[in-house]
Point group: C2
Chain length 220, copies 2
DNA sequence: CGGCCTATTGATATCGCTCAACATACGTGG
DNA sequence: CCACGTATGTTGAGCGATATCAATAGGCCG
């Protein structure tokens, strides 16, 4: 069974947010509707982006038309970093009115080149992305669907704002979770139901989750 | 079915290798034996590393003692980048005599701070790591073991040196592949056998693989 | 030669994908 | 307001895929 690591935000220097504010002058803010694309797969990598509010998914449509989700971005996250000139993945808003800050890449790089602190802050964000993806890999290496879903919720809920009772509102559908975990939506549903029956989570509405302290294995 | 993206090396600016050579003065080179740890999980992040020769695995031992492999590093790859102060993962040599360059982190960061080109090169490496992990996530999201193994081989072989006939020597065991793909070693074995029967690969010895051009689905 | 590690194959029970049906929520237009 | 349509979420049945346990083969090194 997996011990989920701390979220990226908890390990990033708190001062980074101030440093990153230096990028604001060149940012263009845009709002996106649910399912609207921020950039498409194959498009030129002309911007860096950060999430102001809402949530986005990084996804790929494969040759069979199946959708793969490789990452979810939440407020504070940066995305669009790339070492190639075209995006391998598309990125789209998950929630209505998602606010995105778009930083023209050339200008952003010029700013970063001239400011070692800013450069460190961006580097820390990039390392943080690596960390989040590594955590996601661990989750996908879990064997059973129930464990995958539980590990996902454990990790994801640390990244979400929490109500006083410790519960979270998931911005993502069962389909998003399925495409992120490489499972069918039905299996994800069943895992939610089973986890609730086992007392690992409590649901008040399909997207309103509270994680319960739980030490045992989930193999009944 | 998945279209595997190009390897990171193919999209990194060729000049980066020269730029990164500026880190050599502070590098300490060490050789590691098979299975020897380069750093442990939980250890302080005091170094950046790059692979000179051989191969390494980034891994985690979970509370049940199961080993998870999240990445394989080959010559030219950097690792040990982190935005936390302690390593979540261990890293160990896979092949005998693996050559590792160790860069003291504080000195490396100071060098990078003072050189925008070097800073860009390190950033590009970090973005490249992100790209490799995203590709690995896509592989893990494949449904069947056969597809996972085939996608892994397709991606991994682009990172390996290739003989004139297009064949590769895998530096990793079936167990490494299993722990990387979240499968049992037996299932990985069977997938190799099936892929060969289907004509997707040819094996001359367990680790000597040649990928065959193959357009069809692998679902018989 | 013997021991160990890696790789392979077999048998079986469990798990998850698929297809199907149904429930629920929400928005829209009448 | 209700009727309806659509998207989302849930549950069921059955089959194929994979984990697991087991046994065996092969290679390498002392």
């Amino acid at each position: 069974m997996l011990q989920i690591g701390p979220p990226v935000a908890a390990v990033l220097p708190a001062g980074d947010a101030n440093v990153l504010a230096e990028l604001q002058p060149i940012a263009r803010c845009r709002r996106f509707r649910r399912e609207q694309d921020i950039h498409l797969q194959g498009e030129r990598c002309d911007f860096w982006y950060s999430v102001g509010s809402g949530a986005t998914r990084k996804y790929l449509l494969d040759v069979n038309g199946r959708r793969h989700v490789v990452d979810i971005h939440l407020p504070g996250d940066f995305f669009g970093f790339s070492c190639r000139d075209r995006h391998r993945f598309g990125e789209q808003a998950i929630v209505e009115g998602t606010l995105i800050r778009c930083y023209p890449r050339t200008r952003a790089e010029a700013l970063v080149d001239g400011d070692a602190n800013l450069s460190r802050a961006i580097r820390a964000r990039s390392f943080g992305t690596t960390q989040r993806l590594e955590e996601q890999l661990l989750i996908l290496e879990e064997i059973t669907a129930r464990r995958k879903v539980h590990a996902f919720l454990t990790h994801f809920c640390t990244r979400l704002p929490r109500a006083p009772d410790g519960s979270c509102m998931l911005p993502v559908s069962r389909y998003d979770i399925a495409d992120l975990l490489g499972l069918s939506a039905e299996t994800v549903c069943r895992a939610f139901t089973e986890l609730q029956e086992l007392g690992a989570i409590r649901l008040r509405g399909p997207r309103h989750v509270r994680l319960i302290q739980w030490t045992s294995d989930f193999d009944r």
